[in-house]
């Protein structure tokens, strides 16, 4: 399983990546939406993208819309991981095409629960 971790905070990329790696994922970081699109365009299409909302250059919502516009990337599960936590913001992200939404702050268990819901928890890795 592969995951793209998109956040302008290095600390947050490290935290999310280490949680995903604990579940057996191979991860790649990106500092904003544009950098993440570069990774996809290069042919590294992940199973999961964890996406911050507020980032420089291209924000998470723009990234979600851009990915959903490309049929070849339809297999990527898009999960927002952001401090934006109003009801309306979650509705907006889901309408743009995000599949799931994790509000910061979160625990490693919260990410695990979401992966289980999405059927993205590799079964060969012992819990």
């Amino acid at each position: 399983m592969r995951a793209l971790v998109i956040d302008d905070s290095r600390a947050m990329r490290r935290i999310v990546a280490s949680i995903l790696e604990g579940f057996g994922y191979e991860t790649r970081p990106a500092g904003h939406g544009r950098e993440a699109l570069d990774v996809l365009e290069e042919g590294w299409v992940p199973d999961l993208a964890c996406i911050d909302w507020n980032m420089p250059v291209m924000d998470g919502l723009q990234f979600v819309s851009a990915v959903r516009a490309v049929p070849a990337w339809r297999s990527v599960t898009l999960m927002m991981v952001t401090t934006e936590s109003e009801h309306g913001q979650i509705v907006k992200a889901l309408a743009a095409g995000a599949h799931e939404y994790v509000i910061k702050p979160f625990t490693a268990d919260a990410i695990g629960d979401k992966l289980a819901l999405l059927g993205l928890l590799p079964t060969e890795v012992p819990a």
């Binding site: 302008d8 905070s9 290095r10 600390a11 947050m12 490290r14 935290i15 280490s18 507020n54 980032m55 420089p56 952001t82 401090t83 934006e84 936590s85 109003e86 309306g88 910061k104 702050p105 979160f106 625990t107």
Partner: protein, 163 residues
């Protein structure tokens, strides 16, 4: 134009939000011990903040005493005993904590509001007392302050000790 922050938020709510941020991000076994009071001692150390723009305009500022920032960074990044936190790591961690505090505070204010990207430096000059909500707390004996302050810099001073 909305009411000043003291009419929108209270210290206990901010403390509860910060407590959740701490236990999730700094570590499951890490607790922010609230000072419960807006007149805690000034904090001497760097700050990180985000702007909130909407019906209420202002900043959400986190200040941590100098000695505490390295510990905080090491905890958030789950560094091994032999790893050193660089200045860049410290800045990044403070910025992200301010971002998460800011986003959660924003969700409690009248909307729609927009969150800015986080910045770091010496504590910004703050607004009048009526438009300032400050919570002092301690973590592993280090002093911290979370200050939610209006954008109007009425009195030209900061509560915290500048760098």
């Amino acid at each position: 134009m909305s009411a000043p922050i003291t009419h929108l938020l209270d210290g206990e709510t901010v403390t509860a939000v910060a407590g959740e941020v701490w236990s999730a991000l700094v570590g499951e076994e890490e607790y922010l011990v609230p000072g419960y009071g807006l007149d805690g001692p000034p904090v001497a150390g760097p700050s990180a903040w985000v702007t909130v723009t909407g019906p209420w305009n202002g900043l959400v500022v986190l200040t941590c005493d100098q000695a505490g920032t390295a510990d905080l960074t090491r905890s958030v990044l789950q560094m091994r005993a032999d790893e050193e936190a660089t200045e860049e790591d410290v800045d990044d961690v403070l910025r992200e904590l301010a971002n998460i505090l800011g986003g959660n505070v924003k969700s409690l204010l009248p909307g729609p509001s927009v969150l800015g990207l986080p910045e770091t430096g010496a504590a910004p000059l703050r607004a009048s007392d009526e438009d300032t909500c400050r919570v002092a707390a301690s973590w592993r004996g280090h002093h911290l302050a979370i200050t939610i302050q209006g954008a109007t810099e009425a009195p030209v001073f900061t509560t915290e000790v500048p760098l």
